[in-house]
Symmetry: none
Subunit: 147 residues, 2 copies
DNA sequence: GGAAATTGTGGGAAATTATGGGAAATTTTT
DNA sequence: AAAAATTTCCCATAATTTCCCACAATTTCC
């Protein structure tokens, strides 16, 4: 199954629902059971994992040591933001208030396919991110994809 | 299977579709399933990879570490521009708005065969590129093809 | 404490917008 | 001139968005 790709600017209705683009939805396996787990992502956006993919990650977190202060801190922050949401008959999911606030999303959002997960951004914030240092695509490519 | 070769100036219709020249289409393996993956290329043009070729690249990206900021940045920027498009019965593919805008393509485009992928340029931008310093064909040959 | 009101949430229909497919005309090539 | 490739144009389908309705949960008032 190919990874999530592409970008799309979609609107968020007054109940916090966004339509997931068809082309991303169709990258989900049936084991995901038409369900995404949304959570706090890195770089102040929301990440959405298909349920089956999420389960793998959660298994990894389960193996952390609850008696280690740092492991515990990570587990707590990782889980407290996560939420299972199912994709409705119109291809939408609803985003919780805390996550919308965390990502600074209001009426419009930018959805990015990024391999194993979908990213949900405030479009302006994403622009700012791209303008940060070290984010030049060609340099990143040369560095990361060095052979 | 020989690599993509040649050049062609084709028009883009109002829905962003271009015909891929027959001579390039016939360089695709059947495993490509009549499908190209178009994405942001370097030097502000669009790259189009046959699906089978693309899959190899995506596999490499899949092996990057999502908890490393730079790997994540590259994966994000690499995947967000990518899109699977199938070649229709008239030999056309459709280019997404974001890619057309990125490459500055409007009504006319220049297609270049470049070995494993096809490049899709704004013709004027390509002229400018050729006039840049360090782009002299003979010097490049001497430097890159040294034995 | 219970009923009614209010608010929040979810589902879905219909309108709008975007996307895709193909026929026919045109251009290019042989 | 004939054949093939490309382009334009029109039509059909699909995706997204807006809007409305129904139900559930919570709150307020009696």
């Amino acid at each position: 199954m190919p990874g999530f790709k592409g970008q799309s600017t979609n609107s968020v209705d007054d109940k916090g629902r966004v339509a997931i683009p068809k082309r991303m939805r169709s990258c989900m396996r049936s084991e995901a059971n038409n369900t995404l787990v949304i959570t706090r992502g890195f770089e102040k956006c929301i990440f959405a994992y298909p349920l089956d993919e999420w389960t793998t990650i959660e298994d990894h977190v389960k193996s952390l040591n609850p008696y280690d202060r740092k492991h515990r801190a990570f587990t707590r922050q990782f889980m407290m933001w996560a939420e299972e949401v199912s994709i409705d008959s119109k291809g939408r999911i609803s985003l919780s208030r805390p996550l919308l606030e965390y990502a600074g999303i209001q009426h419009t959002t930018l959805l990015l396919g990024s391999q194993t997960y979908i990213e949900i951004w405030n479009p302006d914030r994403f622009d700012d991110y791209l303008n940060e240092e070290d984010m030049d695509y060609e340099s990143l490519a040369a560095e990361v994809m060095a052979q």
